[in-house]
Point group: C2
Chain length 488, copies 2
């Protein structure tokens, strides 16, 4: 299947995998509860009739009927059917991404007993509830070695996530190595050689993700959160003033200089080439106005433009010009909710993150205005507390707000965010998993799948499956896995 995905990403594939040759019928299975699918499929019918998988004869083949169609959207539109019956299991999917999801489901149906691997007679029909099912990782507050990123892409695939939102740079460091502006990482990374993502690193992440049906949406957050950019690019940031002279500190991107927009034009031209996804996340959050307010040139510009003292108008002015620049690269864009809150005019996707724990009003307003909405507020997984906090993560629903059906349809999904203040390679993976799995089921399974006890039982086994596959997903509560984690 990897070959199919790799060489035929643009074809509509009806992937039919048969030829799973089974051994003898092994009778009724005693512990049916051990089949723990995660996230739960839309339709699922299992029987106690079990087949043995023969290691010698097991194979996955593409069916003769497998056809190549005219289009395979990079945006996933998965729909597949999986049917297991002697002597072969059949997987039908509308495209390769759906086939990948089906293979993951197949692997979750296999269970071990004392005599080998088994699978029960099963019929599954499945598709995701939301199209955008993401994880945000932050490689600026702490540098994340490639190994950690790749391992988490593996875990994402096990949970049917399909978007890696790469918050790659921020105030604290600029690890992205730019071909156009190499001084950005030379002067902005924690270390110019050891703490950077080279072009080939980035390419590897994108390809590794694509092979697992995961889009990579990079975030280059401006005009705030850009302190590290200023090290490499002269005059990009606003000089802050104190007592009518420059204080030596710098604020957000300087929105009144043409040079700032010239830089952004060249920079996003590169980004749009390096990252093949149709979307770029442009940030736009938490712009601190105090530096702009202190600067006499900015003050003069505010008067010229008739903005009065409303600096959110200046922010919108900047964002509008940035959107025009990025639009010229033919990319779509997403932004954090402040851009909407400040009254942007252009149609884009709004990423809701504020107002913990009440996000409902913002979701209602964003969708009422006709914008696509993406939810993260209840899924800031960097926030931790003692005990089983996965339950509240699981209970949050992106469509749980007052609005019309049309509004609900504008909710394209959500993202679990793991901001990097307290997280690096030492603790990222167990902090993210299996808590992010709770988000995964909310975004994939039917709205009605809300039984916490049932979820607990499946999730306990799903986390052991992740552990068995080498992902150090932390325990939900007291207990054990047949195979405990072997790393450190």
């Amino acid at each position: 299947m990897y070959c199919l995905v790799k060489f035929a990403p643009l074809f509509l594939a009806v992937a039919v995998c048969n030829g799973w040759l089974f051994g003898d019928f092994v009778g009724k299975r005693s512990e049916l509860d051990e089949i723990s699918l995660w996230p739960l499929p839309q339709k699922f019918q299992s029987s106690a009739v079990a087949f043995k998988l023969s290691p010698a004869r097991f194979q996955i083949v593409q069916a003769k009927q497998s056809s190549a169609g005219p289009s395979c959207s990079i945006l996933e539109n998965a729909f597949h059917e999986l049917s297991v019956d002697e002597p072969s299991a059949v997987l039908k999917a509308a495209n390769v991404w759906g086939a990948l999801r089906g293979l993951e489901t197949f692997s979750q149906l296999v269970y071990e007993d004392d005599y080998g691997n088994n699978i029960n007679k099963t019929d599954i029909s499945d598709f995701p509830r939301f199209a955008h099912r993401g994880i945000l990782l932050d490689s600026s507050r702490h540098f994340l070695p490639l190994k950690v990123i790749l391992a988490n892409l593996e875990a994402m695939a096990m949970n049917k996530f399909n978007v890696f939102h790469w918050h790659i740079v921020d105030d604290h460091s600029f690890p992205y190595m730019s071909r156009t502006f190499p001084e950005l990482s030379q002067k902005g990374a924690y270390h110019p050689f050891t703490h950077v993502y080279t072009p080939s690193d980035v390419k590897m992440v994108i390809e590794f993700a694509r092979m697992r049906g995961i889009r990579v949406i990079p975030e280059f957050d401006t005009p705030g959160h850009t302190e590290s950019w200023g090290n490499g690019i002269k005059d990009l940031l606003t000089p802050c003033y104190s007592d009518s002279s420059p204080s030596g500190a710098f604020g957000p991107v300087n929105p009144i200089l043409n040079s700032s927009y010239d830089f952004m034009t060249q920079f996003f031209k590169e980004i749009s080439t390096v990252f093949p996804d149709a979307y770029i996340h442009l940030g736009g959050d938490e712009v601190d106005f105090s530096c702009w307010e202190s600067n006499p040139d900015i003050q003069r510009f505010m008067v010229q433009q008739g903005f009065g003292t409303d600096y959110s108008k200046l922010e919108s002015f900047y964002i509008q010009r940035l959107l025009d620049i990025v639009a010229a690269t033919k990319k779509g864009y997403m932004v954090w909710q402040e851009v909407f809150d400040n009254g942007v005019k252009v149609r884009l996707s709004i990423h809701v993150w504020k107002g913990r724990p009440q996000y409902q009003d913002e979701m209602a307003q964003v969708t009422a205005a006709g914008f696509n909405a993406l939810l993260s507020t209840p899924w800031y997984l960097n926030r931790i507390s003692y005990g089983q906090d996965w339950v509240n993560i699981y209970k949050a629903d992106p469509q749980n707000f007052t609005g019309t059906d049309a509004q609900k349809k504008l909710v394209i999904g959500g993202e679990a965010c793991l901001w990097g203040e307290y997280v690096d390679a030492t603790n990222l993976t167990p902090r993210l998993w299996p808590r992010a799995s709770a988000v995964a089921e909310r975004l994939w399974s039917d709205k009605s799948v809300t039984d916490v006890d049932n979820a607990y039982n499946r999730l306990v086994q799903h986390r052991c499956r992740m552990v068995k596959r080498g992902i150090p997903a932390e325990p939900l509560f007291v207990g054990h896995c047949r195979q405990e984690y072997k790393g450190l």
Copy 2:
């Protein structure tokens, strides 16, 4: 030094390590702040004069004057002096354990620059504030593979901890493989082969710890927390009743049967042989009386003994007999605070854990009664919260209660506890470190060492040192290490 420790543990050793041959004088050091000793020594004088360590000529040798004395208590009484000057550094210690601590300090004095390893001219005189500096790990709620235990012993040595409190069994599982009662783990472990500590595993843990100056105090908690014991030992636990017939459930150890005490006699005879430390932790916490109350035989016994309905008297009755049994093995014992709260008569060490965040009253009462006290209440590191919770861990002081000097002297130290409800091999190490390092400095360094900003700067570097040595200690906050963690 390991050989010295290994083959001469019973001698008083004046270990003098000279022969560290230095290269050329490398001049004043620019970044003195990079010397980050943790925990901070009692007396420390450093100079900017730096020497280069020559890889080709560097060696550690025992001085000719190194003498063997008549005794080396297993209980550490470390005192050592470390002096670095050209052409050799000298380490004097009253015993081998002190010499080990001095070598750790020496390793922390070495710093890298572009040309190799350096060390500054330094004089240190050091000793621990408290004799008992422990870490509790819980291998019952989750089984901890040997690899994890050994790695944490390494980290303990880096932080000058000297007691591994091994909470080895509890309600949930009994992984300790007993030679006398093999059915305990056969029926009480999560898995009788893969989730147990064999005699040779236990021996390895003890020896690995001893080589690092760490005592292993096992805890076999009774009469409560014993559910897993009941699987292997018939009639050990109290049958609970409902509606005047046995409900099928079991409660604490049955304190009215002679067979219970016969079992404990044999069991603790084995434990006293397997674990060489002079102390055993006997638990005694959180005894649930409801099962005892339901049982008619127990009710009858209460009347016979004149206990009325005060079941804490029954608990004390059990504990008193258990203490007599363990005393016969020539071991000392520690217990959780409930045993004191219930009015035990025998002199023992009381482990204070309740009353978060106010532990001062209990510490005052325990020491006023003349008992040794050991503090854990503020150091339940299994409890987590968002942000820099190491600060409160660091601020807690075991002698911070109202009492006489004599009372303060009865405080023998403290333990950081990492209970296992939410912790296993996947997340234990980053959750424990560097938060436990905050406890380490409180228990080692002078009472006056309380500057949080200074501690932050040293701890950031100390945690990078742990990472460099292969321990996935999590970050305190935004930043980076020169060498990031290479595992997952």
